[in-house]
């Protein structure tokens, strides 16, 4: 376990060093990230001026959802995108062979090898928005609510990760993955708005089929102290299933890789 922590630390410090290696590129990335942030803030300001309700959500609580979305988007940019879109290159260039011969879990390697620090400000901004908006809407921040919030964020992230990993792992067959990343970003973007803002049929789909609700709406409800325990419980089971499935699928994919590749 300690070995895994040390490995992560070294992975990320080398990732940081790699990004700093190209000074200009790093500056541009910082600028691009600033642009993204301004865009997010602008969209938020639309919520302010509109003053309308979305579903049965007041704008303050809808803002919490925006915050959760921004946080997850930052995490996506920091961790999921740099790593999971890279899997296809490992397969195409054959460097997956090196990963498989390391005495370390290959899914772990492929999932945490890189960390893009350009995602960090978005993560911080997202959390700030969540807490600010939650205070605005009168949340009391009980220890319990905070705890449930963290758990539900984790649930959301694991679900997003697992779906993304599943699609990326399929590149073992297709080698060139279809623009899966865009589909996933659209899925996450659907979570920008409260789930009850959608028609009933979409609400159903977003909860059970494509668990968008778990990504943003439920964590927001958690910090507002409104999340029902049974949903949290359901979320825990669902995310565990997603995660276990991603691992099994990876094992299956590797079996194919090792029996078909040359």
């Amino acid at each position: 376990m300690q070995r895994y922590f040390k490995t992560i630390r070294l992975f990320w410090s080398t990732a940081f060093a790699s990004q700093l290696e190209y000074q200009l590129n790093f500056l541009i990335e910082l600028l691009a990230m600033l642009g993204t942030l301004l865009g997010s803030v602008f969209i938020l300001s639309l919520f302010f001026t509109g003053g309308r309700q979305l579903g049965d959500w007041t704008w303050e609580s809808a803002l919490v959802i925006q915050g959760v979305y921004t946080f997850l988007d930052g995490l996506t940019n920091a961790l999921l995108r740099p790593n999971l879109t890279e899997i296809v290159n490992y397969v195409r260039e054959g460097t997956l062979d090196y990963v498989l011969l390391k005495p370390i879990d290959s899914q772990f390697w492929l999932s945490v090898k890189k960390f893009s620090f350009a995602g960090l400000p978005e993560i911080i901004l997202g959390l700030s928005i969540v807490f600010w908006a939650a205070i605005q809407s009168g949340s009391t921040f009980s220890i319990y609510a905070l705890f449930v919030f963290i758990i539900s964020l984790l649930i959301g992230f694991i679900i997003l990760y697992s779906v993304w990993f599943l699609i990326s792992a399929s590149s073992i067959w297709f080698v060139k993955t279809w623009n899966a990343t865009e589909v996933l970003r659209a899925l996450l973007a659907a979570g920008r708005y409260p789930i009850s803002a959608y028609p009933v049929i979409l609400r159903f789909i977003f909860t059970l089929v494509l668990p968008v609700a778990f990504l943003t709406t439920f964590p927001a409800e958690a910090i507002l102290g409104e999340l029902k325990f049974k949903i949290l419980f359901f979320g825990l089971i669902l995310s565990s299933l997603f995660f276990i499935f991603s691992r099994l699928f990876w094992k299956f994919a590797l079996k194919h890789y090792t029996s078909a590749s040359s």
Partner: protein, 332 residues
């Protein structure tokens, strides 16, 4: 087959087939390919058996597509065998257990594992962490290997700025950090210039002597094989057709040598019959085919029996012989 304790690697009747489907050209072919796909197995490796003892350096020879890489990958656990058995140090490679992975390493000449934008040193410490080496152990090990590989400040220069030779040496360093006892090298000198090749070669032979590690390598460069591998395994079209020492391979490929002699005075052909098969006799020039084992005797007798101006012994280089063999497809 029972494992003899002296065998480190046992490969027994190993086969690998790839399932492929061929598509006829055109739209009709596409439809047929979609609805009624005919698949068949293409053998990559067929029924290969051999054993390797600890500390051996074995070269795998074969033309492109002969099955060398498939065989090597089955031994390090990257490819599941279709049939047969592989055993490496008591492990079944395809299970890729941690204890097994810590004992082996793979270097592929055409693929790199070092992080492109950073100096090799950064990648080395990442590898050290993965193999659970402490920073101190890693440092000692890096210094030791860097000295053997004649690597110095290259290790702190971004990989993208290194020459191919420096990069390959750094790759080898990264692959040997965890003191593996079995080295799988797939074309480790690919693309290197003659000097860099020679340095990699001398490093490998020194590493083998110092650590007693077993080395299995494939190479296109005959010089790699002749310099490093007392034993070669030749593979042709997925089948093993020679396993033994390099000298006897050369012997079995060309049991005789050509001896060309220029004489001071013309001699009759009968005088040469006892020395070997006469290929050509022309005034003062004689060309004899002499078997390898008699060569030294014949040459010394010739020198004492005749007045000789010039004597030339020619032996087709081994790579030509093997190349010819692969082209002809002459399999025993």
């Amino acid at each position: 087959m029972h494992n003899n304790p002296s065998d480190l690697i046992v490969v027994d009747q190993l086969s690998k087939y790839y399932r492929v489907a061929n598509k006829q050209p055109g739209f009709k072919g596409t439809l047929k390919h979609f609805f009624d796909r005919k698949t068949y197995d293409v053998p990559a490796v067929t029924d290969i058996s051999f054993k390797i003892s600890p500390g051996e350096v074995v070269g795998f020879l074969g033309a492109n597509g002969a099955g060398k890489t498939t065989l090597l990958k089955m031994m390090c656990g990257l490819i599941y065998p279709s049939k047969g058995l592989v055993d490496v140090g008591g492990f079944s490679p395809q299970r890729r257990q941690t204890a097994f992975l810590k004992e082996i390493t793979l270097v592929m000449g055409q693929k790199q594992q070092l992080i492109w934008d950073l100096p090799p040193m950064d990648s080395l410490y990442v590898n050290a962490a993965i193999y659970g080496l402490s920073d101190h152990e890693a440092k000692v090990r890096i210094n030791e290997l860097a000295e053997m590989l004649e690597l110095g400040e290259e290790l702190t220069r971004p990989v993208r700025k290194l020459s191919l030779g420096q990069r390959m040496k750094s790759e080898i360093l990264a692959a040997l950090l965890h003191k593996p006892s079995v080295l799988f090298l797939d074309e480790p000198t690919l693309g290197l210039d003659v000097n860099a090749q020679a340095r990699v070669r001398s490093f490998l032979s020194e590493y083998n002597k110092r650590t007693g590690a077993t080395i299995l390598l494939t190479s296109h460069y005959m010089a790699d094989i002749t310099a490093l591998c007392p034993r070669v395994i030749c593979i042709h079209k997925g089948k093993l057709f020679y396993d033994g020492d390099l000298d006897s391979l050369a012997n079995s490929l060309s049991p005789s040598r050509e001896v060309k002699v220029e004489l001071k005075n013309p001699c009759a052909s009968e005088q040469f019959e006892k020395y070997g098969e006469i290929q050509d006799l022309n005034d003062r020039f004689v060309c004899l085919l002499v078997s390898r084992d008699k060569l030294t005797d014949v040459v010394s007798n010739l020198l004492t029996d005749f007045d000789i101006i010039d004597l030339e012994i020619s032996d087709p280089p081994i790579d030509e012989l093997i190349g010819e063999l692969f082209i002809k497809g002459k399999v025993n």
